[in-house]
């Protein structure tokens, strides 16, 4: 019994030491509807264009880093690989918002999305900077653990 308690205490200490309180999930009452709408419109338009065989033309809604990175070629090849694995984009719904503890002006907005060849939802994540410009955007299998 004594040894079990010691092992448990060690694990608890290890856990506490390895904690990184870098992100915080916002309560529903503290989320910003305007930011969620910006992120949602962007994600829907982005995938709707690619689904129709076209590509998303950025204006001033995103940072230069994102605009340069998501070229026409990258968008199309990225969507092709998603389509092969999960099918065509169907819809998305807002899930939750996180902020960084060190910089609360950066919003991480998570959506759950449906693709027609997948029985599981995928995460579409949009990151907005302090000027509400898209500064991060990606898609991955949904996890309740923010990674």
């Amino acid at each position: 019994m004594k040894s079990i308690t010691m092992v448990f205490s060690f694990c608890l200490m290890l856990g506490l030491n390895s904690c990184n309180q870098g992100f915080k999930k916002l309560d529903e009452s503290k989320t910003d509807d305007k930011k969620i709408q910006i992120a949602k419109n962007f994600a829907i338009n982005f995938y709707a264009k690619l689904k129709n065989g076209s590509y998303y033309e950025f204006k001033d809604e995103a940072t230069d880093k994102i605009k340069n990175f998501l070229s026409e070629e990258k968008q199309k090849s990225g969507y092709k690989s998603i389509k092969e694995q999960f099918g065509d984009f169907q819809s998305l719904e807002y899930a939750e918002t996180w902020i960084q503890n060190s910089d609360s002006s950066i919003y991480i907005i998570r959506f759950k999305s449906d693709f027609d060849k997948s029985s599981k939802k995928l995460e579409i994540r949009v990151i907005l900077n302090q000027s509400d410009k898209i500064n991060g955007f990606w898609i991955k299998p949904w996890s309740d653990m923010l990674m």
Partner: protein
């Protein structure tokens, strides 16, 4: 005596009785898994509220069927005793009951969504490990009692069967079920 029952209840409960109790438990685990978003991908526990109820149910059913089938085949090959499929399938199902701890713990709001490297993640991993280790030790005893095996034959055939079963389950889920 009571602690022995926690790891080897199969001298008291086996056959149809264990099958009925196990089926009820499996349904409850799947329901709680759906409510909390706890997938059992083999023994790899994934926190993701991302599917309909039937996916969680099929995951648990396929875990049970694959493990039972492989243990049954191993028993037929290595045991000299007469083996009853109902014993293997029933006791294997009963062995999976400790997995219920994970979705129960995930009913706590702090464990529903959490950041990587957080204290909640640490708690989730520890609880998952306890549930999986307990389940594996129950499976081992279920196999031992149902097939009347001993020593190296028991250990080696159990490990190999379990590895094949878990790989088989994950392939079945990834290649067929998740594509629906």
């Amino acid at each position: 005596m009571e602690s022995k029952l926690l790891f080897n209840p199969f001298t008291r409960i086996a056959g149809v009785k264990s099958l009925i109790i196990g089926l009820i438990a499996l349904f409850i685990i799947s329901l709680l898994g759906y409510k909390t978003g706890t997938h059992f991908y083999g023994f790899y526990i994934v926190p993701a509220k991302d599917s309909d109820f039937w996916i969680y149910l099929v995951e648990n059913l396929s875990n049970w069927v694959f493990i039972s089938v492989f243990l049954f085949i191993a028993g037929l090959i290595f045991s000299k005793s007469k083996i009853r499929a109902i014993d293997i399938f029933g006791t294997t199902l009963l062995s999976m009951i400790p997995l219920i701890i994970v979705p129960i713990v995930r009913l706590i709001p702090a464990l529903q969504t959490f950041a990587a490297q957080s204290f909640a993640m640490f708690v989730f991993i520890i609880v998952s490990l306890i549930a999986v280790i307990w389940t594996i030790s129950l499976l081992f005893n279920a196999y031992k009692v149902s097939c009347n095996l001993k020593n190296e034959k028991l250990i080696v055939s159990f490990i190999i069967s379990l590895v094949f079963a878990l790989v088989g389950t994950q392939m079945f889920l990834t290649l067929i079920i998740y594509k629906f």
